[in-house]
């Protein structure tokens, strides 16, 4: 048929091709529409008053001065929300304590009602004609809040010490939950019989997420329809939608439309609703005008969820041959001042799935405590517990190798789950379906020229340097939970693909068009991917947990099955053939009468599907399908990362010489975009391991690292060359064979780098050191080991 003749050869845009991104031309020309670029005529501007104290009681707020300032339209405080019964912010991840009781619910309000619990806690909202006027008035109002300053605690040790200041009456000792998983008795027996027990406590440093786009929002209210609109960057609308409708507005969800335009990075931090998002549409109705807010960076450091911050002790019981008999993990999580949507999930249902990692360990137990402190609340960040678990375990494996004087590669090889042991049921109950972990290790060692490592170490020593090598074997459960997909052809010959998945840089407009193109043979250029409008995409989970390619990808396949069936019925009618004689060819997108050259393209069938006469009685007009897909089991991306560092002992400066990433992501939809995702994740791992560190003053709770001048996001000069080795084992847990790739870079990279640093230090009896491995930290370790003579 004529219209198909102009199409490029099938396969050019299909699964497995490095198709260039559809979204890029607009972004490259500066035509992206991020939240700061979305504005309305007549809008006013919000600014938030935030607590300057780590812990304080609000005695009173005198808003008169601020209200009288130029351009000020309104000042709202916690009392205004309380009066309407709004503004509560419950946690989503309610876990159970080890005794079976429910975790305590800790109060959290969009605007503080009596006590502020971290620097940056939201105290009041000021709305004015311009952003500058709102900011000026907010500064005035900030000085008119009467605080009784309370003692603050910022660390796990201080918060759990006897007599420590208490954040909540509901959480005695500042412990929000005390959780356990595993077979403690079996683990105790294994430890009693062990030849050796290796023990390592690691500190998992707190991070600032620092998406390059600060958060923001635009709240609107339409009196005529009694309907609100919130435009705001998210990683999926539904979580924000539910929270804002239920707790910010107190209206049914249908009375609120949530819109997300281009998103400037999320990394987990833009998954859930924040106080400001609850307040913007609420204030828009109060004021009868659109209300806009765009955070300045100093705000972002205090009002965006922060990440990580754990102390984890891993004990490994080994037999005389170095085989792991059992692993015991004690996990202390600093959750910050409030239990966020995912906060309690991270050290319980999130990370402890992986306490045995890629190893065939018969018994495991994990105890986790969630601790509240006067610091910014913790929420999901690229991995949400998975990188933390792998890091703690892989550091302990290296510790065991050092204590037993074994080659860390050999120790890993003896204990890795072997392919013939798959599917492997972990002590946590999780089942890994496939992967070849020993091969990953072997490929990493080959790429690293491991055999020549001793010679390289000797050469470094001869030059007065210390060289170290580190490995990290990882797996990363990904790709489960739900997401909604709808495919809708139109009479003009194009097709729209609606997703609740929400790109925040991953390239969904391209990846999912590739899958649809492959499955239905729709011309690639005729596909438009729609995300980020709740009126269009409906309810369903967004992007997080390395979920989208699996959940939305399989959703596309399910929709395509229905469209194929509908299309066959229409083609049969048009071709005057029996439906059973129609054969559909996904590669060409043609419905043909079997054994003949008579047929129709899917675009012809789609156009015809809108005419009454062409559609069988009882079948819907048009060609469309929707499917709310649930993936109940995760898939298991895995791999082995390796790093090599050289330390200058005179200054402690580490140089990351090389990074090797062996990864298994199953079937790859777009190799170029996959590599981009994973290298980006590795970069965040390198940032955490080498330079990033969020610090608070332990006495006052002041955020010390409150700008890019104090908090170091890695720069172009910080990144080593990355050797990329693909070792794909397709999974049978989904019909595409894909495995999630978004978080693996973080999960794999951290321990490789730190094991390399500590390998270098161990050669002279120094270390181990904790992240970030900055020059000062390393120099102090060398000095205290008396390797240096300061």
């Amino acid at each position: 048929m004529g219209e198909m003749a102009a199409e490029p050869a099938a396969g050019q845009f299909g699964i497995g091709q490095s198709v260039r991104r559809i979204e890029d031309p607009r972004l490259l020309k500066g035509q992206g529409r991020f939240i700061d670029d979305v504005n309305r005529p007549g809008q006013c501007h919000a600014w938030f008053v935030r607590s300057p104290h780590g812990h304080a009681r609000i005695q009173g707020i005198d808003a008169a001065g601020a209200r009288a300032m130029p351009g000020v339209l309104a000042v709202f405080t916690g009392a205004d929300l309380a009066a309407e019964g709004l503004g509560g912010m419950p946690t989503k991840a309610a876990v159970k304590n080890r005794d079976g009781s429910a975790m305590k619910t800790l109060p959290r309000h969009a605007l503080a009602r009596d006590v502020v619990r971290h620097v940056g806690d939201t105290v009041a909202m000021v709305v004015a004609e311009t952003r500058e006027q709102a900011r000026d008035a907010a500064e005035t109002l900030a000085g008119a809040v009467d605080y009784e300053i309370l003692p603050a605690v910022t660390t796990i040790a201080d918060a759990t010490a006897p007599g420590a200041p208490q954040l909540f009456a509901e959480a005695p000792g500042n412990v929000a939950f005390d959780w356990m998983q595993g077979d403690a008795a079996a683990v105790a027996r294994a430890f009693a019989a062990a030849h050796h027990v290796a023990r390592r406590t690691t500190v998992h440093n707190r991070l600032v997420v620092a998406a390059m786009e600060p958060r923001g929002g635009l709240g609107e209210y339409d009196t005529a329809t009694d309907r609100y609109t919130l435009t705001t960057p998210t990683q999926g609308l539904t979580e924000v939608h539910k929270m804002v409708a239920d707790y910010g507005l107190g209206v049914p969800a249908a009375q609120l439309r949530v819109v997300t335009t281009d998103v400037g990075g999320g990394f987990g931090m833009k998954n859930y609703a924040y106080p400001d998002q609850l307040l913007l549409p609420w204030a828009a109705r109060k004021l009868g005008r659109p209300v806009k807010w765009y955070a300045e960076r100093a705000d972002s450091f205090m009002c965006d969820a922060q990440a990580r911050d754990h102390e984890t002790t891993v004990e490994i019981a080994l037999d005389k041959d170095g085989r792991f008999l059992a692993i015991r993990t004690v996990w202390l999580a600093n959750l910050g001042a409030y239990l966020t949507q995912s906060g309690p999930f991270i050290p319980t249902l999130g990370g402890p799935r992986l306490v045995t990692g890629t190893y065939a360990v018969p018994a495991a137990v994990c105890e986790s405590k969630g601790i509240v402190t006067n610091t910014v609340f913790i929420d999901a960040y690229r991995g949400a517990g998975k990188p933390e678990a792998i890091y703690a375990l892989e550091c302990a494996v290296d510790q065991a190798a050092r204590e037993l004087d074994m080659d860390p590669a050999e120790l890993r090889l003896r204990n890795l789950v072997r392919p013939e042991q798959m599917p492997w049921r972990m002590g946590s109950g999780q089942v890994i379906d496939c992967g070849n972990f020993p091969k990953n290790l072997d490929l990493a060692l080959q790429a690293a020229d491991y055999a020549a490592l001793p010679a390289r170490k000797a050469a470094s020593r001869a030059a007065g340097k210390l060289r170290g090598f580190g490995l990290s074997s990882y797996c990363d459960p990904s790709g489960f939970r739900d997401g909604r997909v709808r495919i809708a052809f139109d009479p003009s010959g194009s097709v729209q693909l609606f997703l609740t998945a929400q790109t925040n840089g991953q390239g969904h407009e391209t990846t999912f068009a590739q899958i649809l193109h492959q499955r239905l043979g729709v011309p690639f250029a005729k596909i438009r991917v729609v995300q980020g409008d709740s009126d269009a995409v409906g309810f369903g989970s967004g992007t997080g947990g390395s979920r989208s390619v699996t959940v939305a990808g399989v959703g596309i396949l399910r929709c395509a099955e229905e469209i194929e069936a509908k299309g066959k019925a229409i083609a049969a009618k048009l071709l005057e053939a029996a439906e059973g004689d129609i054969v559909f060819s996904p590669g060409t997108g043609r419905f043909d009468i079997a054994g003949t050259d008579r047929g129709l393209s899917i675009m012809e069938v789609a156009k015809a599907s809108f005419a009454w006469d062409n559609v069988p009685d009882g079948q819907s007009l048009g060609l469309d399908a929707s499917f709310h897909n649930v993936q109940r089991r995760p898939n298991w991306p895995n791999g082995c990362h390796a790093a090599e560092v050289e330390i200058d002992p005179d200054t402690g400066t580490p140089a990351l010489l090389n990074f090797i990433a062996v990864n298994d992501f199953g079937v790859v939809v777009n190799p170029m975009l996959l590599e981009a995702q994973v290298v980006g994740g590795i970069a965040q791992g390198i940032g955490q391991a080498m330079v990033e560190d969020c610090r608070y003053d332990p006495e006052t709770g002041q955020l010390v690292t409150g700008s890019f001048m104090d908090y170091c996001v890695p720069r172009a000069t910080d990144m080593p060359p990355i050797a990329w080795v693909a070792h794909e084992v397709p999974t049978a847990t989904n019909p595409l064979g894909v495995k999630g790739c978004g978080e693996a870079g973080c999960s794999g990279s951290l321990a490789a780098i730190m094991n390399a640093v500590n390998d270098a230090l161990a050669q002279v009896g120094a270390g181990p050191v904790e992240m970030p491995a900055r020059a000062e930290t390393i120099w102090k370790a060398l000095a205290s080991a008396r390797y240096l003579k300061p």
Partner: protein, 161 residues
Amino acid sequence: MAKHHVTTTINGESVEFLCDTRQTLLDVLRDELELTGSKEGCASGDCGACSVLVDGRLVCSCLVLGVEAEGKSIETIEGMAKGDKLHPLQQKFLEHAALQCGICTPGFLVAAKALLDSNPNPTETEVRYWLAGNLCRCTGYDKIIRAVLDAAAEMRGETHG
């Protein structure tokens, strides 16, 4: 307070605008002239998302006042492509997938253009150090560096793909 009348050149076109004393060049570009390609990432000169050229010099437009544009020649991301014809740097960013969320990308492109304007044959180290004033949280920089080196080679007439 009276606004200032400023006459300047933006992307080769003569432009007049009125601005407050306190408005930055970034504010003026975005709010007065609807040139929203330059982004506010930090408003303190740390991230480079608002990078523009003023008389050929790379600056953070969040640290320049609007009134300072008087008599100057400003180049922004909006001037790089000629209609649908991408600048070689933009084309190489596209081919190398050197962007993900894309919010830092205009700043990187303007900064990279400034580099290649003055040094058409930079080493990888020179590119990395030149772009160290631009933060990107998504890519890990590797593909950006490859794209800039590839664009430089193409602009020198050396490579084909």
